[in-house]
Amino acid sequence: MTPPDEALVDEVGRAVEAVLFAAEQPLTLADLRAYVGDEADIAAALAALTDHYAGRGVELVERGGRWHFQTAPDLANFLRRDREDSRKLSRAGIETLAIIAYHEPVTRAEIEAIRGVQISKGTLDVLMEAGWIRPAGRREVPGRPLMYATTPEFLSHFGLASRRDLPGIDDLRAAGLLDPVDLAFEAAHSEAGGPEAVETADEDD
């Protein structure tokens, strides 16, 4: 399954391994190239290293195009420190983060439309302070509202290689649950061919 170790113990492989170990931040391919040199070898070295570390106590992962080593998730019980609550998010925070991640880029008004309630300024601040969301330009509609999107740190923190890895995102998209209500309404309407679409069963009252 894994390539022979000889393939790794070449200079580039060792250098990539050392640079990633020494790095304080996840590194992109371009970052690695700046330290180690040739690009093609680096991609190969990353693949070989990923294989080599698979199943060990430490693994090599890619998060949003950036690579880093981290401990294996199943060893959390050996490592957990008593700072579990340090990043406890409020329910509003979690929902807002999920809405941004699954819909990005998204405006505050769009977030509020989904949640059915205004979001307090603090909610977005907390997410920004955590480094998980960032302003992402303005929507070209009247008022030019600011849009929000997630950051590479968001992907790293939640262990996602990319936004495509967001739990259930494909199903949600297929079910139209990431479309705005208006769009879904049109779809449901034309599909069912009329208001009969919603049977309001009231027999069990």
């Binding site: 929902e95 983060l97 949640r115 995102i169 679409a197």
Partner: protein
Amino acid sequence: MTDPAPLTIDIDGWEGPLDLLLALARSQKVDLRQLSILQLVDQYLTYVNEARELKLELAADYLVMAAWLAYLKSALLLPRDPEIEPSPEEMALRLQLRLERLSAMREAGARLVARDRLGRDVFTRGAPEGLKTVRKSRWQAEIYDLIAAYGQISARTRPVMHIVAVRPVMTLEDAIHRVSELIGQRIDWSTIESFLPEDASGSYRKSALASSFVAALELAKQGRVEIRQKSPFAPLYLRGIEA
């Protein structure tokens, strides 16, 4: 109040009426697509009434939602009026779609935060050596900059010079000598111009006039000449004083 599924309601626990509606909808224990909107309306209105009887203060948006739901319920129960747009079924569908979406995001959020999270479940290296970027500056300057700079320094620091072109002047000494000589030959008041050489013209004449004026002042100081002028810019007259 003998509701079979009593909701012990903490009024502060709800994030708005939609959140409350979703919790009530979930209590029906059916897929949101099979939701009974009429039942949901009743659940909501019951809840709001309970809260009122307990003298709990409900935020305005909960009451707005209650009024809207009451209207929706009556519209759903009454015979169809094709004139009314949107139809009650459409309104119900929209409500159901909104609940679905909120529910989907709530579940997504729960799955997200349950993942193996960096700094909680998985950890990066505790004491990385760190990478160094050694910044080296490659300084740029052109030969033109260099010599232009030197040109400016040279020009800036050479001593300031006044070069006065050579031209005919009457010195003050000449003027004093000339005026004191001429004044002795005259008895009456004479204009200062009459003391200038006949042939003086151009800048030499200006120089002679200026020097003669200063000469006149000097002689007046010595008590050898009187100076008179009727008004500003009027002709200037000189007369010798009898010794």
